[in-house]
Structure formats: C-alpha cells, structure tokens
Amino acid sequence: MFESLSERLEGIFGRLRGRGRLSDADLDEALAEIRSALLEADVNLAVVRSFIDGIRAALVGEELSRSLSPGQQVIKAVNQQLIRVLGGEPLRIVHASVPPTVVLLAGLQGSGKTTTSAKLARWFRQQGRQPLLVGADLQRPAAVEQLRVLGRQAEVPVFSEATDPVAVAGAARGEAQRLGRDVVIVDTAGRLTIDAALMDEVRRVSEVVRPDYTFLVIDAMTGQDAVATAEAFHTTLDLDGVILTKLDGDARGGAALSVKGVVGRPIAFASTGERLADFDQFHPDRMANRILGMGDMLSLIEQAEREFDRDVATQGASRLLEGRFTLQDFLAQLQQVKKLGSIGGLLSLLPGVPKELKQANAVVDDRDVARVEAIIRSMTPAERDDPTIVDGARRLRIARGSGTSTQDVNQLLRQFRDAQQLMRSPGMLAGMLGGGGGARGARAARALAGMTGELEGVGGAGGFDLGELGSGMGSLGGVPAARSSAKGGKGKKKKGGRVTPKGGH
C-alpha cells in the first residue's frame, strides 16, 4: 500500500546521479517525500516537522558521496536521525536497594497492558527475579481473571482484591514482601486521557505504590493521537519509558517516534507476538528501518546467517548462470528458503518486494509451496533434470504421487519452461547481474515465482517469489546507508546476497 521511502527517493534522485552536490530544489523534493513517508508511518505531524528540520540541517551543502547514490545518501541521513531520536540512552533496569522493585503499567484501553504485564513478568523471571503480578484493573470485566490465567502461564503469582484499584495497589508491596517477591508489576485499567476522574485514580495508584518504573503501554498501530496520549500520561505519571505493543503486524509504528519525541524517555520494550515469549528490549535501528518501510532486514539477515547453506545457494546460482537450472535445483532453493520460516513472515521483512506482493503477503499460503514440493518430489531424477520427458502417463503418476491433479502438474511444468526460456535469454542474465534488480530479471523471477503461486489461482502475487527475495537481498547491497550503523554490515550484506540464485557476486 505504501511505497517504501527508499523506492521513492531512488525515483527522485535517479536522474541526479553524477552531480556533485544536492541542490536546494532536490533537497526540498526529497524532504517532501520524507515528510509523506513519515506521515504515512503515523509519525505525528509536529514531530515530523522538527524531524525534517533536523534532516535539512544535516544535508544542506553536504558533499555527494562517491559510493552512495544521492537517494542513498539522503536515506542514510534519515536513518541516522531516526536511530538518534529513537535510541539515545537505552533504559537499564536498576533494581531497588530494598526490594521489591515496583513497575507500574498504564495506557489506553486495548493497548495490551494485561498481556504486557505477564510478558514483563516472564522477562523478569528470566533475569532471575521473582516477580509478583498485581491486578489493579477492576474496571474491565474479567481483566483480573485474564491476568490470573496469564500469570499461571508465566508461572508468576497474581495478587488482586475486589476492592478498589488504589487499595489493591496499596497492599501490593506488603503482599510482595510476604511472598518474598522482589519485583512487583502493577497492571492498571485502560483509561482515556480526557477522563479526569480515571487519570486522577491512576495518579493515586502511583502515589500509594511508589513505582520505581512507570511505563506507558502503547499500540504500534496508533496514529496521530499517540502524542496527546503520551503527553497526558507523562504529565500525570512522570513516565520512565514506553512499551510498544503489537509490532507483529504490518504497521510502520511511527507512534514510537512520536512518543519518544514528546516524552523524551526511552522505548524500553517491544512486544512482537501473542506468545508470552514474544517480548524483548527495544532495538532502535530495527524500528528505524521499519518506519522507513525498509523492512526488518537485520532480523532477516540474522535468520539467513543461521539457516542458510552457502554451498547450496552458490550451486544454484552457478547453474542458473549456466542456463542449467533444473527442477531439482529449484527444489533445493525452495528448501533453503523454507528454513527461514513462513513465506508470509519472510515477505513482511523484505524491502523492495513489489507492492502487489506485499499486499498479498497476508494471503500467501505456505501450502502452495508444499504442493510444488510434493509435485517435484514425485518426479524421478530424470524427470527433474529434463521435464520434457514427462508424458501423459508420467503426468498422471506424478499427480497421484503428490496428491495433486494433472492440471497442477501441467501448470508447474509450463511455468518452469517459461521461466527457463526467460533465463536463457542473454538480456535476462544481464538484468540479473546488473544489480538493482533489472526489470527483466524481476520478470524471470516472477515467472519462477508463479510456479508456486498460480497453483492456488492467486497468481504471481500470492506465490513465493524466489527471485524477488534475490532482488530484495541484492538491494540491501545497494542501500548500505540503511544499515551503516550495524556492526559488520558489509560482511552481512554479502551473505545476504547469497540467498538467491542471482546472489553469486
């Protein structure tokens, strides 16, 4: 739906290559795009303004780099600024000299406080602490019951009473001491910032429980209102940090920037899934990439490094170059990619994936991949090497063996043939080798990808695109700025490039 900032800036600056300096007009145009991208990512308007001013100051009169395209150079500046704003001093939990250390969670309704309480409890337990969960949300029906269930999952005791939130909070320290717990996590009811009575209540809860840390829990999907919410809670509770939830969706999460900009306190934790384990300390660099629509490349690269087999990838690449890429090679590559996890999840991490694919990533079905695998596995080695020998009888056998229909088999064979033809054309190779994912390369890649997608009738958009993974990973090499802050970035880039047939550089 939203074009990534990097794609847009490359568009603007494509014609500027070779010039020595960014002109004011170029800069204005780029800054306008950056502004749009940040707004589409839900960064607050006021925060965008000051952010843009910062970027302008950083870029005015700067020499154009020899190694970076102007677009890349601008992205680098944006990325660095994002990391600077999002990062700063990371929060380090310093435990109270006299236990317990008390943590108070507050936020709007539905931001995920109760789940976050349990996740935080689990996190503390993993740090060797003995947390106690305190249910001070007596507002929402069954909230305490939810906390008790989650507490059992996290193996952490839960304390609450059917009195009132201030009384429960007041009893929390004593209860922790009685049970010998050294961390107390207080879950509070969700409240609107304009609800004066409830804001006063949470202030009183804070006064009696005297928290060492007060965190605002905020949904990563929050729009422009994030600023008003953060300001109000900060005024009432003097926040120590922010916990960002629901980062497992596809929201850009610009609220992180807004909140950080307004409150000036670190984003301490991020919640990335429904399981209690899906919770960790916050990585500003990853968030920066996400806001810019550049995908969470770092996570993908780490995953790829763990899972990928260099030899298989290299072999695939060389066979592709020689025009001898067979169904057997395709199967081997498919295995590699599958190690990285679900295709949908993978796509969401990738930059440079065409828009139609990104939109379709929610409907990508890993079963399509399984079906293609089943078909190829039902072929003899000879058939995999030379699919032209597959006649009617063989087709029927393959269909039966793989639990598919002869139409499915036909379709796969036809698409593989088309893809092979494309790959054999000389221009195609140039496209694939020429970096930046040439149009022809992408087309061939899409043809290959169609082999998985169209079986389900969802078209290339729904299929897994091996080649696009390639150009995605390849473009990583083209956007060094995006990760310039990451340690050992260069080496990782090369490894990233290996993921695909084209990545033999």
């Binding site: 308007l45 709007l108 069954a142 989650l150 609107l192 949904d219 079905d365």
Partner: protein, 312 residues
Amino acid sequence: MLPELAEPPRLRDRMGRTRDRLSGYLRGIRSRGAIGEEDWESIEAALLGADVGVATTTALLQDLRQRVRDGGLRDGDALMSALRQDLCDSLTSAGGAELQFVPGATNVWLFVGVNGVGKTTTIGKVARRQVEEGRSVLLAAGDTFRAAAAEQLGMWAARAEVDVVRGAEGGDPSAVVFDAVQRAAARGNDLVLADTAGRLHTKVNLVEELKKIRRVADRPPGTVTEVLLVLDATTGQNGLIQAQQFLQAVGVTGVVLTKLDGTAKGGIVVAIQRELGLPVKLVGIGEGADDLVPFDAEQFVDALFEDAPIAG
C-alpha cells in the same frame, strides 16, 4: 427487567468535551475573504492530525484548490463548507448506518478486528440495544484464545439479560459459533452476535480460521447479515490495511469505530470509505452500555476539525 434506556446520546454531546478547545484558526478561515497558503496548510494539518492520511488529504485538497482556481469557491466560508460537504459525501457514499437484519431468519452478526479494539465490549453494547429493539439475542463466545474473554462476554450477557454459548478455552471457535447458531434456531432466537478473537490481519492461519468461522455461521439455519470490522479510533494509517485485508478475507459489511470519546478523531475511516466503500455503522463514545450509537457523518466531520493542530 432491563432499566429503561435513555435516548442514545448524540456523538456531538460526547465529543463536546473537546469543543471548547476548537482551534480558532480553522474557524477563522470561514470569515476570510481570500484564501491564503496558510489557510491551506491549516486545513491540511487538521486532516492529517485527524489521521485522514496523506493520500486522501492530498486528493481532497487538490480538488478544492482546483475549485478555488476555477472561481467556484470564492471565500473562506465557501471553502470550509465545500470541504465539510466533500467529507460528508464520501462518508455516506457507501450507504447508511442501518444494520442488516432478515426477519424470521437466524441472523448472525460477526465481529472481527485486531487485538484490543473493543470487540467484546461492542458486542455487549449491541446486545443490549438489540434486546431493547425487541430482538431475541444469543451471544457466541467465539474468542477462545484470549484468557478470560468468555468471562468478559458473560458479564456483558448478564447485563443485557441474554444467554451466551461458550466453548473450551483454546477450543475451536467455529464449533462455538456452530453451536450458537444451532441453539438459536432451536430456541427461536433471531440474532446471534458472534465474538471472535482479536487477530492481526497479517496472520495467515488466523485469517483462515476467521474465514472458516464465517462459512460455518453462514450455513443454514444461520445467515450472516453483518460482518462488522471493529476499529479503534486511535488507529492510524494501518487501519486502511486492516480494513482491506478483513474485507478481502471475510467480506466485511461495515465498520464499528470505537473509543471516539477520547482525543483521537478516527479520520482513517474517511480513507476506508473512499478506498474500499465500507460504511461506518456504529461509533463507540463511552464506557456505558448505551454509549454505542449510529454513525452520523455530519457530527463526525465537525468533530474532525475540533481542536485541530495549527499549521506552521
């Protein structure tokens, strides 16, 4: 006996809390003879600040600028009226706020959405209102994932004096909805309100599960007459993607915009309506059982411009 329901409070009364902070600048545009660049910027800031989104805002303003250039809009008052009218038009273009109901059938209204938007609470409020309107309501606790979700729905059911069909925690939500439809048909309930677990639209298997729930609910004797996407007014641009994905997966018929009593404006529904043609049917404007009211485009648009940020 249910206590008597008051007249549904008007959106505007509730939103009136922020009315006194209405940006004087925007109101000032109305009295201006000539429209300056600052005025455009203020309007843009108001729309963006209300989460209407860059693309929709740009499209609206380009059209208005053209009309000003063509002489169709001569002063600030005409401009603001045209903007208000454009917004109202696009918000009503997809149809009205009536909830579809087939008399004599076992109607199923399915409530879907991401986590934490207020699905369960919305069902509680809808149940009460529908009982009040004389319908025989049964609740289906189809959120078998979130801890204690069924308990929460049970408390709402008790308040509305309706029954709730529950399954095991972690059980198959389709089975719960199936049971509810069967029981409703057997007992002569004409409306099943089916809760579902919050799910991000990006989770393929959870979306598949939702499709199955819908198929099961639509099997005779049940007939799905509404699939309502519950959307939190604080949601930013991701709301459009959510609506698109849920529409594609389960054929959403309308939007319930919750938590509109806070400082958030919920402007993303303008984009949702323009891009996807999905009408807003209900808005949540408070915690009380009566604080869920039919969507009123004019009140909503007026509220969009209240307390707008100042351009600069």
